[in-house]
Symmetry: C3
Subunit: 425 residues, 3 copies
């Protein structure tokens, strides 16, 4: 790795990794910002998730996601050996050289094992942090820790192997998801639903008629701090997903931040018109708008122009308001932070928009030369085909992740006699 372009790419991705690691802790502060300072256990959860991600992704999860795949299905779990090679100093890309998928044969940006591992592990951590918002005051901490081990080794790693690994079967089919509308946000929603379902099964056994709700209790200070940290984190999340530092990286900062700004305005305006109970909560509307803009642009930030990013941001506002109104009917949901209306709906919407808003020059610049123009830019039948592939990928991944998550919970419940905490305490 003596050439300076590779070094610059590694430096950028390493810095981006640090920014994304902050997001996991930020989710803890977000929970405290929406539910009040008594939800301090959220902070403990964030810290545990970060450490668990480092440990189990190093153990094997990273290989399962990013080592050369076996038949496109699963990365070779022993490619580096356990724990990134254990005591071995000759692991490719560790002390010298480049990770296999970063050679010129594949992505070509010359990333080493260290920077790539840290970047993707930070992604895995923040995905579980999103899943974790649904277990608040519901799931036993030990059960969640056990779940996290399975999550990082297989549940997170599998969709990553399929979509982000250049030998994965969905990647080869043509599926693209720039920074994780499906791999992060959608999959977090599916995994969360899997846990919710098991919790609801246990609650019904206890003859509960409704899942106990966690009341919203805004703390504007922590909310703002959390959004500031998440915003900073997204500075690494999307632009880091170019996996290199070049003009496209900077354009992705633009599309990311412009979508956030536009979504803030549209959420504020639509929210004040449509959601009466939120009319006086301008800060909450602004904050949710920013997050929604950031989520929607995530899967295609590297494929679109600045003005498309603004349009997508403007669409994100009403999407969030209406999704929120829709999901708030189902009182059996435990979703105080809005995982489902926000991350699941916003993430998947963004993935679908790939087939509409992509412009080939932007996609090519971010290393996705296989993508053609979207439907709105004259992509025609090719773009419709892309839409089909994205829909197919969404369906396959959502079902897989939901089932894996649910089965994991069932097994843990069998071992630990239930995953739900005792509400009487």
């Amino acid at each position: 790795m003596a050439d300076s372009i590779s070094l610059i790419n590694n430096l950028w991705v390493l810095i981006a990794a640090l920014l994304v690691f902050i997001m996991t802790i930020a989710v803890g502060f977000l929970e405290m910002g929406e539910l009040g300072e008594e939800y301090r256990k959220s902070l403990l959860k964030s810290v545990l998730i970060t450490c668990s991600a480092l440990f189990f992704m190093a153990f094997m999860g990273f290989n399962i996601a990013f080592a050369p795949t076996i038949g496109g299905i699963i990365g070779n779990p022993l490619y580096t050996g356990l724990f990134l090679g254990g005591f071995n100093g000759n692991v490719p890309g560790l002390l010298a050289g480049v990770w296999w998928s970063m050679t010129s044969q594949y992505f070509g940006s010359g990333l080493a094992l260290g920077s790539y591992f840290l970047f993707e592990t930070a992604f895995a951590a923040v995905t579980l942090a999103l899943v974790g918002v649904v277990v608040l005051k519901k799931m036993r901490l030990k059960a969640f820790l056990l779940y996290s081990a399975v999550y990082f080794i297989i549940i997170w790693a599998l969709p990553a192997a399929w979509i982000w690994n250049p030998t994965g079967w969905l990647y080869i089919m043509g599926m693209r998801d720039f920074a994780g509308g499906l791999v992060v946000h959608g999959a977090a929603g599916a995994a969360g639903l899997g846990i919710m379902y098991q919790i609801w099964r246990e609650e019904k056994k206890k003859r509960l008629k409704q899942s106990p709700q966690v009341p919203i209790k805004l703390n504007p200070i922590w909310l703002t701090l959390a959004v500031l940290l998440l915003w900073i984190g997204w500075f690494g999340f999307n632009p880091g997903s170019v996996l290199a530092f070049n003009n496209s990286t900077m354009t992705v900062v633009l599309t990311t931040f412009l979508a956030a700004a536009a979504a803030m305005f549209s959420t504020l305006i639509v929210g004040r018109m449509k959601a009466k109970q939120l009319r006086r909560h301008e800060l909450l509307l602004c904050v949710n708008g920013i997050l929604m803009g950031l989520i929607v642009i995530t899967p295609l930030a590297g494929f679109v122009s600045p003005l498309s990013a603004i349009i997508l941001g403007i669409l994100a506002g009403p999407l969030f308001i209406y999704a929120n109104l829709f999901f708030s009917r189902f009182k059996w949901f435990t979703d105080p932070i809005g995982l489902l209306p926000g991350h699941l709906v916003g993430g998947l919407f963004g993935v679908l928009m790939i087939a509409f808003f992509t412009q080939a020059p932007f996609a090519a610049a971010s290393g996705n030369g296989a993508l053609s123009n979207g439907i709105l830019f004259g992509g025609g039948t090719v773009a419709v085909g892309q839409l089909g592939i994205e829909v197919f990928g969404i369906v396959v991944v959502m079902i897989t992740v939901f089932l894996l998550s649910f089965v994991t919970c069932v097994v843990i419940a069998a071992i630990m006699k239930g995953i739900t905490i005792d509400y009487k305490k």
Copy 2:
């Protein structure tokens, strides 16, 4: 942008941009730190300012400031097209190439549109955040949002076009302002005075005899956090203003941080002697000292030696204490955070000091080879001439910004029937 030196310059400026973006939010925390946790609306304001800056600078403000100027007066507003080119992937410096003023004909650091836009937009945002401290509990939020649109498109952009654009008339005349003693701090003071004046006109109509004061109520925790964030931000603010990464960039970190350290000591010492009511508020003195040192060094951080930075920092302390005592007489001012004694006085003082403390080797290293030695380093009549240019630039910009700000407020007041909130609420 294939050469690695340009890539390094872009990477540095992009990171600096992120650090400067944090400063806008930090101003919100600063208000909370000086006025108490009930001033949470400050946080909403910070978030709104950031999004508004991104949106309106992309819309047109960036072109007005940084596109090739029309006769040195104003940048071509349609140089890239609206919104940084809209759907156009061929904008110069976006997906490929370099922004025109960063070619070897001008500044030569090879910055692309993305990194330069984000860096300067962060500057614009934090400038309005400084302006915004005077509207606290005074100006209607909608009026401030409208004001922000005009501010980013024209009020902030015009002085930038004159002084920071290499084809601007003041730049060509020889005016220099390294990181914004006038363009940021001085102009923020002038814009703030324009708003204050309109508010005071409305308050007089309501037969108020004194503008309602916002009482100071220290919260040391938020104050410290705010200063930490501002300090981190200044790590990007001044050194990023080299617009490249080289030895000078690192020297600017030195001058910036040394001025802050020296100013803390001098403010603490002079404050304990002169400002009896502050004697026991060591933290407030330290914090204000650090900020004052950072403000004073801003316009010449790239022109001076480390020891000059320390001397300037030492001068900043008594300057702040005495300016504060001076302005606290005018009770009709609404200035709980000290915009006028701090940013206006400190910023303009620093601009004047350019003509005294500049050393040509330091200025040349930061890309300002046209600057000669200052009066204290044998600059003689050339340095006196530079002093004249700086004074002239200050007068022109302060009057222009004051008038633009005031007229904008008058127009908004006419549309919205007043910009002042109803104090009875």
Copy 3:
């Protein structure tokens, strides 16, 4: 410094310096997190330490530590001139060129004066911040400020000159301490003991039978924020200590973060078994575990493999729990944050482990080619010799720092009539 590899190294070390500066403020938040929000003076202390470090390291401390040494004992205090050359623009490595020890004759990474000064000054600041935890509510602020001047000029600088300066006598003897197990953590403990001893002498004169204890009062929010900031800071602390950006830098992030993760788990498990009073404080156990893992890996993060880092992290947990139980017997200690069980024991333990866990390929990659394999990797008698050198270095440095610290306190006490605050207030 026109070559891009040097620029990349400087950019990385400059960013790392910023991250390490954050740690000093983070220690202030850590104190507040363990002792409650009323310990706001901790924040003032952190700010003072940072400014004092910048001022006195620039004055002379940096030269004493990092200029070419006089006989291996002390760096030439006037190598650059006072204050990094004062008004002189021709200081080597300032506006052009490379700091002498970063030329190819020594470390060869091409660092300039600015980035190296800022990185090491941030280290000095955070070391005094660790020392400062023992003076909480005990030492007069003025006395501590005076102490800080002596500390940065000589007490911190001397061990750095011996161990980190390539012409220092311990460095030449073969002593290695990657990122400061001894120079930072161990020495902080020794300096703290020197202050404690003088305070205890003064307290005995006042006929106190026990040093007044500062009661622990957890604030989980500030605790988590502090750990987040420290964790981010360590991202610069250890990987920045490669003093270059290369594959080893990234491997050091891996070893650092994996040790932290493993230590969190082992501290949580051992803590719940052994420390009954902590059983329900999972957050405190996790947080202390993370810190302990980070401390233990610090002196050898650049010398070991990922799996060794995990093993060292696992060992760090019980080490902390038992050290804590051991030191909590001595009620005359004033050590609410655990300086002694954490930083002193953990830091020195890590230094000793160099002789056991080092693997030559990892050490060579981080620029320490002189180190051979440790005892556990077949190092044999050479490794035993290394152990002897490390033990010798520890003894010499600990005694020197303790004596310098104690004598400084005695002198200050003579000048100011005691360094202890009046407890009656």
